[in-house]
Symmetry: C2
Subunit: 118 residues, 2 copies
DNA sequence: ATAACAGTTGAGCAATTGTTCAACTGTTAT
DNA sequence: ATAACAGTTGAACAATTGCTCAACTGTTAT
């Protein structure tokens, strides 16, 4: 088991605190997954799409009109939301409806709103 | 009161749905604020800093050692977290300790984790 | 068949972002 | 004074991101 090269340009000042925190920290990959999820919420277009879908299922054209975007722009964002398992497509003839695929989305919004308005 | 130029390259397909959703949608600036907040959570370094501070207050050097980063990199990220009112600094001599400034942070993490592990 | 339309996709561009580097404060000890 | 060290800051660079444009599917109607 090797040690990774140290990048830091300073020394530990409170070894006890660092060890305490290090013990309780999850492994690094969890933080990447968490950050990846929040990156998706970090765009106002995607947030508006998710918010809209939480009110009612919608097709690409309706979303585009609602948010005043091209259907291409909407489709690109929907692909990102699809890959993150946040929305699910459902084809009906020529039209593709998108549905919110996760009940946690609203809870995440609510916690965010609580921070903003305090 | 004028109408903004339309960008969309398609027409409404379900006017009733669009109107229903439009009625319940908050104004645009709220989505920018929400997205800005999640952008901050959208970086694994910042998430790890916040997680660490939730366990215990820490100074810049300790964070740098814990996460194997330069103190400059840590300081830059702490500035972003400070400006978003997510952490607060407290100077003690040469050392600056940072504290989590918001109880919602943990709740936001928890909701994110719930989505990842389902 | 073929036209019309909803939706998708890849390349490319402008804007944004995280880190590094180097120079700079602020506080403590000699 | 001045050296030492914790921390901050601005410029610069590489990498990423959101949108546009144009070309492409897939389904329905003529």
């Amino acid at each position: 088991m090797g040690f990774e090269k140290s990048i830091t340009d300073c020394n530990v000042l409170h070894e006890d605190i660092v060890e305490l925190v290090r013990k309780d920290m999850p492994e690094e990959s969890i933080f990447f997954d968490l950050a990846d999820l929040y990156t998706i919420f970090g765009d106002s277009t995607r947030v508006r799409i998710l918010w809209a879908l939480d009110i009612h299922d919608m097709c690409v054209c309706d979303i585009a009109v609602l948010l005043n975007l091209t259907k291409s722009a909407v489709s690109h964002q929907l692909r990102i939301l699809r890959q993150a398992n946040l929305v699910k497509p459902r084809r009906e003839g020529k039209v593709v409806f998108y549905t919110l695929a996760d009940e946690h989305v609203k809870a995440i919004f609510e916690k965010g709103m609580e921070h903003i308005y305090e």
